[in-house]
């Protein structure tokens, strides 16, 4: 098992460098300049050059990358050009909000998805099944920022149940969680449903019925337990998206978090901050996926063997 984990972690290193290079080039090749956001009427052109030199923007792209990478390896993500504060501090400040939203959305997609899947499997082929399936599918294909606006319109404007935006109290978390988590609900529900139906056809289920075990007990204690194995591996893959899945939703709901931080930094072309955020988000996806892999391997020895 430990060699499996080690192999997985070692594979991260080349991925990290490819990701860092992509992130770096991506933001530097997009037109725009962070210094423009710092200038206001009256500032002199000399100040501009002075600023560019201060942040090393007058050097070649290659040099800038080497300097940045050298610092990142010592866990120094640089200083935000616009905000003038260490990037690591800004990320740390915004991380808890993103984790709360992402974590709750993850929990929501797991619970609601499994519940919807179980229901759809039970009423397989009936109207209940097709309405659950098509309802969730519709919800998950709508882009989350637009879904967010629709949810605001219905639940905050027409019904007035929750605040429109912000991050004050649990009520302001409801709509963002739904907007972020609905895609996951659809995925989990589909996998649960298919897996429930498949397991339901196996011989041991017939045996249980013959023994006179109650139908609800068979479904929830026996079928669901087995059906959850593929569901958990799907959820494992989604752990990585806890941070990255809510970027646009955070902006629409004016919530603090890595998404809001990233979008603002992108608009201002704040290179160090964009690089720090994107690197952080992509590493979260990579590490989250590995955690999912490891969890699955721990449950299922065949996985460990197969990867040898």
């Amino acid at each position: 098992m430990s060699s499996f984990i080690l192999r997985r972690l070692l594979a991260v290193i080349p991925t990290f460098f490819v990701v860092s290079l992509t992130v770096f080039l991506l933001i530097h090749l997009v037109p725009g300049d962070p210094i423009d956001s710092l200038m206001r009427a009256g500032s002199s052109p000399a100040l501009r050059e002075q600023m560019a030199a201060k942040y090393g923007l007058d050097r070649s792209l290659f040099e800038q990358y080497i300097i940045w990478m050298g610092k990142v390896l010592t866990l120094d993500f640089g200083t935000s050009i616009i905000q003038g504060r260490p990037v690591a501090a800004l990320i740390a400040q915004n991380l808890p909000s993103s984790l709360t939203l992402g974590g709750t959305a993850f929990l929501f997609s797991s619970l609601a998805g499994i519940a919807a899947g179980v229901l759809a499997a039970k009423y397989y082929g009936t109207r209940i099944d097709s309405s659950i399936t098509s309802g969730i599918l519709l919800g998950s294909t709508i882009p989350s920022f637009w879904l967010a606006l629709l949810l605001i319109l219905v639940f905050a404007v027409w019904l007035g149940w929750v605040p429109v935006s912000g991050a004050r109290g649990w009520s302001s978390l409801v709509l963002p969680v739904i907007a972020t988590g609905l895609g996951g609900v659809a995925l989990v529900a589909r996998v649960t449903k298919v897996s429930m139906i498949e397991i339901g056809r196996q011989d041991f289920v017939t045996l249980l019925r013959a023994k006179g075990v109650s139908e609800s007990r068979i479904r929830l204690q026996h079928i669901l337990r087995h059906a959850l194995v593929p569901v958990i591996s799907i959820l494992g893959l989604r752990i990585g998206w806890i941070l990255g899945g809510a970027i646009t939703v955070e902006v629409v709901f004016a919530r603090p978090g890595l998404g809001s931080l990233l979008i603002r930094a992108l608009n201002q072309r704040d290179y160090p901050l964009v690089q720090g955020c994107l690197l952080m988000l992509s590493m979260a996806v990579i590490l989250g996926t590995i955690i999912g892999d490891i969890a699955q391997a721990a449950m299922d020895p065949r996985q460990r063997e197969a990867s040898k």
């Binding site: 956001s37 499994i114 606006l149 004050r168 409801v174 479904r219 608009n267």
Partner: protein, 528 residues
């Protein structure tokens, strides 16, 4: 079976709905707290240190007082300076400071504070505000004299800007470069409670306050004890917060939502004096707009009226010169004003050699008059571009519209491939002319690339040749007229910020004397 399934699915619903209803009461603001949503152009201020800042919001105006207050007719009034005196040659300014003014940390404000504060601008991003000051001399505890290197008629304007809010020296030095991040100490009517960049700032009333400026009736403690200043990036969410009562004041209603908010009986809309102008920018360094005749033709082909009506629903005013109309420098001779005259536009294009073809497009030496018209992708700019495009067609000019995000647009302007650009500035001082059209600012912010010896001479004279305010006004007016007669730009619209107030909760004063809703207005604001 049914019971179990019901349990699972309904438990999720139950958890969601209990948190829903139990929190509605908490979400509603308590009566002592007012929620203000900042204008989008003030979003993202990284810290509240006025000396280092390049972007500050109204928040800074509430925490820090300034020596001088500027009213919306551009006259200057006493604030922390009780009175002032300017020598004939403009080389000496004496300020008499208010007594018994204390910072939020209990420190006394006096002449020594001013000496320390002015010295702090050296080497900062705002160095230019104090660059003309040679030294500050303490006359006595409440009297200071600025000895100038050269006359600076703009000194009072600078002293009244947010960037010259005065921080507490003790707190500033103690924070060592981190001032304004977690701590911001001034003498203003509100004290900082918390600050989260890009999210919200919470301020509480300064219970010691007794030195309001001349612009407010109430010179003492504000009635609104707690202010939550929120920043919302998405304009639809901003509008919905105001429309549903989630916000008490919206500092800048997004243009497209003004008509919608006007329908809400609880919302009072107030137009602030104009602080900016939208204009059509030429690239004067390349054909066809290096030709003055072509620029003039375009200027006469454009009609400002439909822009005012269709894009801004009548809010603001049509612009026929470059500056906001409350500035004296905007009162140029009438013959310089740029107005629609389609016949003249056609005539000028003929004169410039661009002749109308059978397909309705003008050509010269076989080249059709097709130009690139660029704009930022925000709704208002995009629609202005479309209107200008439609207005140029009848005179035989084909404009191809392309949209950019604002950072990409700036970058593209630097490269110089542009021809016509819908631009906008927000600034209420005539020195915006220097910023936008000074040859030393090519390629940015002078992306018109205007470089003309006569204009440069007039500009330099306006910038540094004036000894006092009156001379400065006269010189800037002359420079302004020179730019107008060269048709370096086509003014389109004078932009007025619309402020929305929830009138069922707040009463703001009938007459607002500031350029925007700021500390003086909020001092006079009452609960309903």
């Amino acid at each position: 079976m049914n019971r179990r399934e019901l349990l699972i699915s309904s438990s999720i619903l139950a958890i969601a709905s209990t948190s829903l209803f139990s929190n509605v009461a908490i979400a509603a603001a308590s009566p002592s707290e007012a929620t203000i949503v900042l204008s989008s152009d003030e979003n993202g201020a990284p810290h509240l240190d006025p000396i280092r800042a390049t972007l500050l919001s109204v928040t800074a105006g509430l925490i820090y007082d300034r020596l001088i207050a500027m009213s919306n007719d551009h006259t200057f009034h006493p604030h922390l300076a009780e009175s002032w005196d300017e020598s004939e040659d403009g080389l000496n300014w004496t300020f008499v400071l208010k007594k018994n003014v204390r910072f939020h940390d209990g420190e006394l404000f006096n002449a020594d504070t001013v000496v320390w504060w002015i010295s702090k601008f050296e080497g900062s991003a705002n160095q230019h505000v104090s660059s003309a000051i040679d030294r500050v001399v303490v006359v006595d505890e409440h009297n200071v004299r600025f000895e100038m290197k050269r006359p600076d008629p703009n000194l009072l304007y600078n002293l009244a800007s947010y960037f010259m809010g005065i921080p507490s020296p003790k707190a500033y030095e103690a924070a060592a470069g981190n001032f304004g991040v977690i701590e911001a100490v001034g003498t203003g009517p509100y004290k900082l409670e918390s600050f989260a960049v890009g999210q919200e700032t919470v301020l509480v009333a300064n219970e010691e306050y007794a030195w309001g400026s001349e612009l407010s009736e109430n010179k003492g403690v504000p009635e609104i004890k707690r202010l939550v200043l929120r920043e919302i990036q998405d304009s639809s969410a901003t509008f919905l917060e105001m429309d549903t009562g989630g916000a008490d004041i919206l500092m800048g209603v997004p243009t497209e939502f003004v008509p919608r908010l006007a329908l809400n009986a609880d919302v009072e809309l107030r137009n602030m004096p104009a602080t900016g102008v939208s204009y059509l920018q030429f690239n004067t360094s390349s054909a066809p707009f290096s030709d003055r005749l072509v620029r003039q033709a375009i200027a006469h082909a454009v009609d400002q009226e439909p822009i005012l009506k269709a894009v801004f629903s009548g809010s603001g005013a049509t612009a026929h010169q470059f500056l906001v109309s409350s500035l004296e420098e905007s009162k140029v001779q009438p013959e310089f004003l740029i107005r629609k005259d389609t016949e003249k536009a056609k005539q000028l294009l003929d004169q410039a050699g661009w002749l109308l073809g059978s397909d309705g497009i003008r050509t010269k030496n076989g080249q059709p008059l097709k130009v690139r018209l660029w704009s930022a992708s925000e709704t208002a700019y995009k629609r202005m571009a479309e209107i200008v495009q439609a207005q140029l067609k009848p005179v035989g000019v084909i404009a191809e519209v392309a949209l950019f995000d604002s950072a990409s647009l700036r970058d593209a302007l630097r490269k110089g491939d542009h021809q016509l650009v819908i631009s906008h500035y927000d600034w209420d001082n005539a020195d915006i002319l220097d910023w936008c059209f000074s040859a030393k600012n090519i390629p940015h912010p002078n992306s018109s690339r205007w470089d003309n010896p006569r204009s440069e001479k007039l500009r330099e004279d306006a910038m540094s040749g004036a000894r006092n305010w009156r001379e400065r006004v006269a010189k800037y007016k002359e420079y302004h007229e020179n730019l107008l007669e060269n048709f370096v730009f086509v003014p389109l619209h004078e932009f007025e910020k619309t402020v929305a107030v929830n009138r069922s909760r707040l009463a703001i004063p009938e007459r607002i004397r500031e350029t925007t809703v700021g500390s003086a207005t909020l001092l006079d604001t009452r609960w309903q």
